[in-house]
């Protein structure tokens, strides 16, 4: 019963708020979010103690019906979703754009995201993702600014094309297995005699999901969509903090489903490394704050992918933990960017100076997020990065994680230049709700760092322990990287013309279509080779 609540309550409440356009309804929506958070926390504890819940809609059998299943991972993601939505409502309590139409779309998106986390039926997943694509593109172009119209349109077309790939893959899967339930398909997977016949559905499904997650050749839509200048900052928070994770979640599930017959982890490991490295290189070259944060998301997704596809349990849980951590610190950074843009009226990092003087409290919280994302000791990023590394001892992938982290440090050194200098405006006041939202996130960055391993051990029933000397080594590595980063930035990058002018890699619809085709061909042929060898 509780599972229906997560999907229905936001949608019904959104409709109600749309029909009764009163400013007070915003408070109602916020109260609703708070109670959803409490409910999801209760659900989380219940599932840890009692095991997964499963419902089949309409009392059909599992083969024909649509099943909802909530296991520990889904419960954690649901808690994350209600938490981030609550913080967004808290942040926007006094903002003007929060009218009834906006709240309607926002709450519908929440209901859809919850359904993506719960649904175990592939076709249901397709429909929900398609609808959420439309809702997200409406949210991107909410202000009908000329730039956001293009970005929303690009987002819509590319993501729908990706979901058509997904639908075709799903049809192939149905032809082979005769059911669409992911658990049943996963259970029957070992019966497939010729794993080569799975290459085509695997390629189709992974192309669809890969574009949703923004893997290497398919990421070009992401900075446009996540960093549209005129979109409200809480939309960027939801997209970058939460909605990308829906793609990652689908990737985790589909990888699990194919695992008995087709293990393509090495392939994804390579894609993850390449995504991480290219992501930070492009992030260094940005002038626009939101653009830099969006490219940083791509780079962190590379890290998450490396963790999930490492083949080792510890790294896998490191990747899952990094999903949660990234949601927290990236949301905080986007909220911070939103405050900066509204106060300074510019998105250009080179023109913003003296932030620490003008808003010291918010700056301290932003520091917490920056320490988190760069993997500073005691903060949340350090734990998940340590866990991701732990299965790669001595291989190239370990150096790749360190290298990606070095890149992260370099672009955040560039970012931190905005704190320097005196403030021309004097103190800038930030309203109390925004401060509260930022504070919750900042404290959580530290808290998740202190309790990260305990959470993994108790929640997923998998013992991970921090080796003391290993952690000390990582801490030393962080300080060494920070020193190298400072040196490189001060001596080299700051003087480069191209870094100061800014550059980006932007593909149009045709380019994304071609990269999608190439990715599909590559994925299918690689899966075929892996299955045959």
């Amino acid at each position: 019963m509780i599972l229906y609540t997560f999907m229905l309550i936001p949608a019904v409440a959104g409709l109600l708020i749309y029909l009764v356009p009163k400013r007070q309804m915003l408070w109602l929506a916020f109260g609703l979010q708070a109670s959803l958070l409490v409910l999801s926390a209760y659900n989380f504890v219940f599932i840890i103690n009692n095991g997964p819940i499963e419902i089949v809609l309409g009392n059909f059998t599992k083969v024909a019906g649509i099943s909802l299943r909530c296991d520990t991972l889904a419960a954690a993601m649901i808690m994350l979703a209600s938490f981030i939505f609550m913080v967004c409502f808290l942040f926007g309590l006094l903002d003007k754009f929060m009218n009834n139409l906006f709240i309607f779309f926002f709450l519908v998106l929440q209901a859809l995201v919850m359904t993506i986390f719960l649904s175990r039926d592939l076709f249901n997943l397709y429909v929900v993702t398609e609808v959420s694509t439309i809702v997200v593109s409406v949210l991107i172009m909410f202000k009908k600014d000329s730039r956001s119209l293009y970005d929303g349109m690009l987002y819509l077309i590319t993501n729908i094309a990706a979901m058509t790939f997904f639908l075709f893959g799903l049809a192939f899967v149905y032809r082979i297995f005769g059911t669409l339930d992911m658990d049943l398909i996963g259970a029957k997977m070992h019966l497939v005699e010729d794993a080569g016949s799975l290459a085509v559905p695997f390629g189709f499904l992974m192309t669809g999901v890969g574009l949703k997650c923004a893997f290497l050749p398919l990421f070009s839509w992401l900075p446009n969509a996540h960093a549209t200048p005129s979109a409200p900052s809480i939309v960027s928070v939801i997209l970058s903090g939460l909605y990308v994770k829906c793609g990652i979640y689908m990737f985790i599930r589909i990888r699990e489903m194919f695992l008995p017959a087709l293990i393509a982890d090495d392939l994804f490991l390579i894609i993850g490394i390449a995504t991480g490295i290219l992501g930070f290189m492009l992030a260094i070259g940005q002038k626009d704050i939101k653009m830099m944060l969006a490219y940083s998301t791509i780079s962190q997704i590379g890290l998450i992918l490396m963790g999930i596809a490492s083949g080792g349990q510890t790294s896998y849980y490191g990747g899952v933990l990094h999903v949660l951590n990234h949601a927290v610190f990236k949301s905080l950074l986007f909220l911070f960017a939103g405050i900066l843009i509204s106060k300074y009226q510019t998105r250009d990092m080179t023109k913003i100076r003296g932030v620490f003087k003008s808003m010291p409290y918010v700056s301290i919280m932003a520091f917490a997020a920056m320490l988190g994302i760069t993997g500073a000791p005691l903060f949340n990023g350090s734990i998940s990065k340590y866990l991701i590394e732990s299965n790669f001892k001595g291989s190239i992938a370990e150096y790749a994680v360190i290298f990606i982290n070095l890149g992260t440090i370099i672009y955040f050194i560039k970012f931190s230049q905005i704190f320097r200098g005196g403030s021309p405006h004097g103190r800038v006041s930030v309203d109390i709700w925004k401060k509260a939202a930022v504070t919750i996130m900042g404290i959580l960055c530290l808290l998740m760092g202190l309790t990260g391993t305990v959470v993994i051990s108790n929640v997923f029933h998998y013992r991970v322990s921090l080796d003391f000397w290993g952690y000390v080594k990582n801490t030393a590595m962080f300080f060494a990287s920070a020193a190298i980063g400072l040196l490189l930035y001060g001596r080299f990058f700051r003087k480069l013309e191209i870094i100061n002018k800014g550059f980006s890699l932007e593909l149009g619809v045709n380019g994304i279509g071609i990269s999608m085709t190439l990715f599909f061909i590559f994925m299918t042929s690689a899966a075929y080779v892996i299955a045959r060898v």
Binding site: F123, K144, T164, A171, R175, V509, I514
Partner: protein, 127 residues
């Protein structure tokens, strides 16, 4: 021998292979056309291919729909039809939304070309 070859040829032109070809024709449109409306049409063609594929999978010759006539010797699989109806509805609504967005975009940019629209946006960005 000649007859066998002919039969093979005819067997190759079945609904499944046709649907795959239609899908990739749509994909070609997505990759190669710069007109925004043609891109939306290409998406329609792609989903058309998928719908044909859904209708043709798991079909046994001589099967009948298991409704209205009581016992049926070979019942047809009803699930693909249900899926296809949903897929068609989703496809129509997506096309409608894309066209409405295109109209809004055309009013702002005055072009139906992706490349020109992108340039337009870049110029606005510099201001």
């Amino acid at each position: 021998m000649q007859k066998l070859k002919e039969e093979k040829k005819i067997n190759f032109i079945n609904a499944q292979n046709t649907s795959i070809i239609i899908f990739f024709i749509g994909l070609y449109g997505l990759c190669a056309r710069r007109n925004i409306i043609k891109t939306i049409i290409a998406l329609g063609i792609m989903s058309g291919g998928v719908i044909l594929f859904f209708l043709s999978i798991n079909r046994t010759p001589g099967s009948m729909p298991p409704i209205f006539i009581g016992e049926v010797p070979v019942p047809a699989d009803p699930l693909p039809q249900a899926l296809v109806i949903t897929a068609i509805v989703v496809g129509i609504s997506v096309t409608a939304v894309a066209l409405i967005m295109f109209i809004a975009m055309y009013h702002k940019y005055g072009t139906t070309n992706w490349v020109k629209a992108m340039k337009h946006r870049m110029e606005r960005d510099k201001e």
